[in-house]
């Protein structure tokens, strides 16, 4: 009998094995997938930009010899006590509850040793982080978990959180598994139940109200503290303009690569914009209002290296913020825990079920035994090292571009590798003077 060639099995580009697995999981469990972290999809990012470096027309600075400053002032618009940081890389808000107490301590230790700030999170201020953070930014969130005027006054700055890049327009949910006695007590809720964080503030609704809310916060804190407003990457031009109108000292802009402790995967992957597309819009809003460098811009979402820092600042940011990268520096997703990651059905560098509280590295957990694995002193040292390396990397690039301060980097120092990045970042495609959307077509 003649054997005819058979058509080989062909996977659908639409219904891929991963898509089908998710359909099966949803059908079996009746619940959407919840996870931590930021988007995992491929997006136009800082990797799609390159620095041009010096040439005949640009004069470089001598590496390691000539000064390239890295400091930044935040809150110079209205606050009588603005913040001065040695480096423009801050630690983003991550809550006690999402993270263990020792992990929060380590963030404070590392940030302070490197000369930068750390930020509280949904759930209030802990003694660990206040005690170990030289400069601490206090998040003012819709849930107001743990909010009180004493901590407000103990903070060095206040960050009003309107949204975050992982879920612009969304609230949060700390699942019952992570609600220990201490977490429950700080949040005024029973132990072990899911704790919802509202997506809107309870006592203001729009930019006019926000302006009055800022007035109240300034009055309560004697006009000393810088007021930041954090927004997710949704409509960065208008959000930045409205934040300025409302009276912000600092705008914090978080792209969709920014992480979260827990939310729906569908939210993380399908809502928001990449940070590359957000920065030029925010900078333009500040420039149009004559407020660039007067209201400082901190950007976050996928910052990993000094190159990313330098690129963000070249696009006009005053500083950056890191969250996911800081957790990895502490030891999150470390391959040394691979056997335990495997037991959880995942693998190192892919673990994202932070909401379940079973983190083998002892960072995103409230389990006392797991948390005890994490050494906050060592973790702090690792974070300090990482921040120092990022700073040196950014300085190296800035010197090569002839800049004696990271703030002197500019879009003219950059080119784009892809048409998409050129359009989003507003810098020319490499080898051309073409910026899609700006130069005629």
């Amino acid at each position: 009998m003649t054997e005819f060639p058979k058509t080989p099995p062909r996977y659908s580009a639409t219904f891929t094995p991963a898509v089908n697995a998710e359909i099966r999981r949803a059908a079996a469990t009746g619940i959407y997938d919840i996870r931590g972290g930021g988007t995992k999809r491929h997006l136009p990012h800082f990797d799609d930009l390159l620095f041009l470096g010096a040439s005949i027309s640009r004069y470089p600075l001598e590496g390691y010899r000539e000064k390239c400053a890295t400091d930044v002032w935040l809150g110079t618009r209205f606050a009588t006590k603005p913040i001065h940081l040695d480096i423009p890389i801050t630690i983003a808000g991550m809550s006690f509850g999402a993270l263990s107490g020792p992990a929060k301590e380590a963030l404070g230790r590392g940030a302070s040793a490197a000369g930068t700030s750390t930020t509280t999170g949904d759930g209030g201020m802990t003694e660990e982080e206040r005690g170990h953070s030289k400069t601490l930014v206090y998040q003012y969130l819709p849930s107001r978990y743990g909010m009180n005027p004493d901590d407000l006054r103990r903070a060095d700055a206040i960050e009003i959180v309107v949204g975050q890049g992982a879920k612009p327009g969304g609230g949060g949910m700390l699942l019952g598994q992570k609600i220990s006695d201490r977490v429950a007590n700080m949040r005024n809720l029973p132990k072990g139940i899911d704790q919802r964080s509202a997506c809107r503030h309870p006592d203001w609704t729009g930019p006019d109200d926000l302006e009055i809310k800022i007035l109240e916060l300034r009055e309560i804190t004697n006009w000393e503290k810088p007021i930041y407003i954090k927004v997710g990457g949704a409509r960065p031009y208008y959000d930045t303009a409205l934040a300025v109108k409302a009276g912000a000292d600092v705008v914090v802009l978080d792209g969709m690569q920014g992480g979260t402790a827990a939310t729906q995967d569908v939210f993380i992957e399908h809502v928001g914009m990449p940070i590359l597309a957000c920065i030029p819009q925010a900078v333009k809003a500040l420039q149009d209002l004559g407020m660039h460098r007067k209201v400082q811009l901190i950007v976050s979402g996928g910052i990993r290296s000094g190159a990313d820092v330098a690129k963000a600042m070249a696009l006009g940011a005053d500083a950056v913020s890191i969250g996911t990268a800081a957790l990895i520096a502490l030891g999150d997703n470390d391959p040394k825990w691979e056997a335990e990651y495997q037991a959880l059905g995942t693998t190192a560098d892919a673990y994202d079920d932070w909401h379940e509280g079973r983190d083998p590295a002892g960072i995103t957990t409230q389990d006392p035994e797991l948390a005890a694995r994490f050494d906050p002193v060592l973790g702090g040292r690792r974070l300090k090292n990482y921040l120092k390396v990022m700073t040196l990397e950014a300085q190296t690039i800035a010197r090569a571009c002839g800049k004696n301060h990271l703030h002197n980097l500019e879009p003219e120092d950059l080119c784009s590798l892809t048409i998409e990045a050129a359009a989003m970042a507003g810098v020319p495609l490499a080898g051309t003077n073409w910026i899609p959307g700006r130069t005629g077509f």
């Binding site: 009180n148 019952g176 949040r187 029973p190 139940i193 309870p202 006592d203 009055e219 309560i220 004697n222």
Partner: protein, 229 residues
Amino acid sequence: MQSFDLGKDGLRALNSSLHALKGQTNMTAWEVINPKGAHAIAAGVDAPVEITVRGSTGYYCAGMNKQATIRIKGSAGPGVAENMMSGTVIIDGDASQYAGATGRGGLLVIKGNASSRCGISMKGIDIVVHGNIGHMSCFMAQSGNVLVLGNAGEALGDSLYEARIFVRGTVKSLGADCIEKEMRDEHFLIVEDLLRQGEADGKAKPEEFRRYGSARKLYTFNIDNAAAY
């Protein structure tokens, strides 16, 4: 009594003076004249003083109050006594939206009506309203008591946690996971105490109130409750 003319000396001077009272006990009575609806009047006070505001206030009057007794001889704008920690705030007139929002302690008394979202996300405060309360009141209220001598608007107690709500009149509708519950002996005592503290003695009797609380069905996510969200 210290008298402060807000129209003449301004908000910053008022709040600076009031904040400076922390730890002092020799200036216990203040009056604020010409408030003219200004925002953030007496916000962030942390001293056992008595402050009388002679007129109506704007947003966030008595915000984050600790220890002080603040009387508003008029009506209050949005967010009065928001995030109050302790002390007492008494409003002779009506209160706008979000009265007592996220309050953690103390007592808020509204002798007129309260608008929408009264007691939203409250975390331990007690609120007594002599009149009615508006829609979405006590949304996500976590703990504390709300006593309403009049009626409640739509979606009362939506997504409620452990706060107790007592309403004497009608409730237009209950929000998700909010149900009527039995009035037990301890609840009659709570109501009696709130009526006394809330300067509503003789206006109502504890047995005239109904109690509303959380059904606790949304405390842990369940897909079969999706229609409630």
